[in-house]
């Protein structure tokens, strides 16, 4: 139960002794696109985030983008190189992990192999000198919530992956910590178990009153679990918002491409501004933008320019007749029950189109074969306009 505030947090991993001499002056060394300075590799920078009490925040991004590093700085396992971390208004930069009143669930579970499940869960309480009967009560409560009561006497090695993960979560929640940190807790589980545990975490959240900070590289987890999600890349925050916000209004090309399955389609296009009305034109298809987008662009006085246009596969519409449409040639069509996925080629660019198997009037659309032409269009309310620098022009 706590509000968290991260102000301009930065993490620099110093160069290790060996790699320093290799570096030549003025030649930026690239390590997975992270910025490198004389002091070291910048794994996280300019991280600003205010987390409300009991909020569920998910950090998501590709491998190496600094999610774990950020979480570990909050936990106190990693020194904060710059900026300030406040928990409940108190500066925590130099506070020992044990005094931060946080708990953490590790990807590797990190259960104590020499202790039984019960002892594992009791350990944090014992260290806090809780009375015996209270320890017992709390461990049994947590075990009941997580449905692991029957395993309390077992050692971790006698448990399955999913059971171990429950124990790890149990050990984290017995203490009723202010903040519960989770670093890819489900990534070692198989797909089915992962879905099940994801649902359990949602339930768990309703049962315990804690602020959550959850790291994942899985966008489904991010979208389903988070009140707000933080999308990161190369140590920088790309966007912070509710799942709906980042899905509907991606701040830049990276977010647009990262969130959503299958990926958003991108076209080289042109933003036109005629008589105060904005429209976009891509491959012979000109569409007037929705009033909301018109207003956003007008407010920023965005000029006409070359843009990258983004349209999600399910927002592409099959048009009956040719004319004011994008033409794409079907390469593969996949029938997925109620919808069809077309993988097509529009002027050298790959396009994915998802359409319902049945039209509204009952006509079937799954008759397209490889090599057939699709006439595509889209609505002016669901397309995304990115400038040359990749930023969403509406922002």
């Amino acid at each position: 139960m706590a509000a968290l505030s991260l102000k301009n947090i930065q993490k620099i991993y110093p160069h290790s002794g060996q790699s320093k001499p290799r570096k030549k002056k003025g030649e930026p060394e690239k390590k997975s696109n992270l910025q490198v300075t004389a002091q070291g590799v910048i794994a996280v920078q300019a991280f600003n985030l205010d987390i409300a009490d009991k909020e569920f925040i998910v950090l998501v991004g590709p491998s190496g983008c600094g999610k774990s590093t950020t979480l570990r700085m909050v936990a106190g396992l990693e020194e904060i190189s710059g900026g300030e971390l406040y928990i409940d208004g108190k500066l925590m930069n130099d506070v020992e992990p044990k005094n931060r009143d946080i708990a953490m669930v590790f990807q590797s579970y990190a259960l104590y192999p020499h202790m039984t499940v019960y002892e594992n869960m009791a350990f944090p309480l014992k260290l806090r000198k809780a009375p015996k009967d209270e320890i017992d009560r709390r461990v049994k409560e947590a075990a009941a919530i997580l449905d692991i009561t029957q395993y309390l006497d077992r050692k971790p090695k006698a448990l399955s992956g999913g059971q171990r993960q429950r124990v790890a979560i149990g050990r984290a929640i017995v203490r009723e910590p202010k903040v519960l940190l989770m670093d890819e807790p489900l990534s070692n589980l198989d797909a089915k178990l992962r879905n099940q545990m994801r649902a359990e975490i949602i339930k768990l959240r309703q049962k315990i009153n804690t602020t959550f900070m959850y790291v994942t590289h899985d966008q489904t987890e991010a979208m389903t679990l988070g009140d707000r999600i933080v999308i990161m890349k190369d140590g920088w925050i790309q966007q912070i918002g509710t799942p709906q916000e980042v899905f509907d209004h991606p701040a830049n090309l990276f977010v647009a491409g990262f969130i959503g399955m299958p990926q958003m389609n991108f076209f080289d296009a042109r933003l036109l501004c005629e008589g105060g009305k904005y429209s976009v034109s891509a491959g012979g298809c000109t569409v007037e933008l929705s009033p909301e987008k018109q207003a956003n662009l007008a407010a920023k006085k965005v000029p006409a320019q070359d843009i990258t246009l983004g349209v999600r596969p399910s927002h592409m519409v099959l048009s009956g007749q040719h004319g004011n449409t994008l033409t794409a040639v079907v390469e593969v069509s996949e029938l997925m029950g109620s919808e069809v996925h077309f993988h097509a080629n529009a002027g050298g660019k790959d396009v994915v189109v998802i359409v319902p198997t049945m039209n509204a009037d009952g006509g079937r659309v799954d008759s397209f074969r490889s090599g057939d032409k699709l006439n595509l269009t889209f609505s002016g309310s669901v397309c995304h306009i990115f400038g040359q620098d990749g930023k969403n022009l509406e922002f």
């Binding site: 044990k98 192999p113 171990r164």
Partner: protein, 300 residues
């Protein structure tokens, strides 16, 4: 000959079979090379010395007698030597574990202040000793000469063992466990006692064995620093007995020849007397060598 190899070739298992036979033969040979000397010592110790000297004892004892054992075991200084050695060994093991395990843990931590300095501090004496006379002077200034501490204290830290312990901690204790313990509320000391130590039984057992065997078999420091015979460890007592029986002409009616023969038998007997306890210790410690203590704690 040819027919046999043809038949084997047809069955297509010949390669496997040949490998297993050759493998078995080689391993058997190695086992023989290791075991025969041990066996020989045992049969030689209960054979008549003449037969041993004449080379007649090869596979079975000849002229079985227990004179050597009787002669050694009826001496009271043997038993005192045993007791001394046991005391020295037990104390060495306890003290060495108290020193080696925490030091190994500290050295295995990346965050140890002055880690480079400490590594040098331990590595340099590993290669450059001060020499015997300075060593003696140090012990003498510390007033340790002719006390049991002169035998125990120099043995409680072997740099080699320290580095082995350090490597064990670096490779076998996952960082995740330590971090989990820190977050669960453990300080440095608590992490060590509640998480690290219980997971270090294997290395502690191995270290205990190494230090114990080292102390059990050692006699050099005792020889240099101990004058009082009542402090002699077993090895030193046995050495004295061997030397005495080889050099003195007995006054109890035994001939020189008899003395010489007995001395030869005593050699084998003393090997057995001194190494038997260590051999008995092995089976108890052995199970820790291969034990995978970490199974189940972390997902690899």
């Amino acid at each position: 000959m040819q027919r046999v190899s043809k038949a084997a070739g047809r069955k297509a298992i010949s390669g496997d079979l040949v490998f297993r036979i050759v493998n078995g033969l080689l391993l058997g040979l190695v086992a023989l090379i290791v075991l025969y000397p041990l066996y020989f010592v045992i049969i030689a110790s209960i054979s008549s010395p003449e037969a041993v000297l004449a080379g007649k004892v090869v596979l079975f004892p000849v002229g079985v007698n227990f004179d050597g054992f009787r002669k050694i075991l009826e001496r009271s200084d043997i038993w005192r030597g045993y007791l001394n050695t046991i005391i020295y060994t037990v104390l060495t093991v306890i003290l060495s574990l108290l020193v080696t395990v925490p030091a190994g843990w500290a050295l295995s931590r990346k965050t140890l202040p002055g880690k480079k300095f400490w590594m040098m501090f331990f590595i340099i004496p590993m290669f450059f000793g001060g020499g015997l006379i300075p060593f003696y002077n140090v012990m003498s200034s510390l007033k340790l000469v002719n006390t049991m501490w002169a035998v125990i204290l120099p043995s409680i830290l072997s740099v080699w063992n320290l580095f082995m312990t350090k490597t064990f901690f670096e490779t076998s204790i996952p960082d995740g466990l330590i971090e989990a313990a820190k977050i669960d509320g453990a300080g440095q000391f608590r992490v060590f006692t509640s998480v690290v130590l219980p997971l270090s039984k294997a290395i502690m057992a191995v270290m205990a064995l190494y230090y114990a065997v080292g102390q059990w078999n050692s006699y050099f420091n005792a020889m240099i620093f101990l004058q009082d015979e009542s402090l002699y460890p077993l090895q030193l007592v046995l050495k004295e007995i061997l030397i005495a029986s080889e050099s003195t002409v007995g006054g109890s009616g035994e001939t020189i020849l008899e003395q010489f023969r007995l001395a030869n038998q005593l050699k084998y007997v003393s090997v057995i007397v001194s190494s038997l306890p260590v051999l008995c210790l092995y089976p108890f410690v052995q199970k820790y060598f291969a034990q995978g203590v970490m199974i189940g704690s972390l997902k690899e």
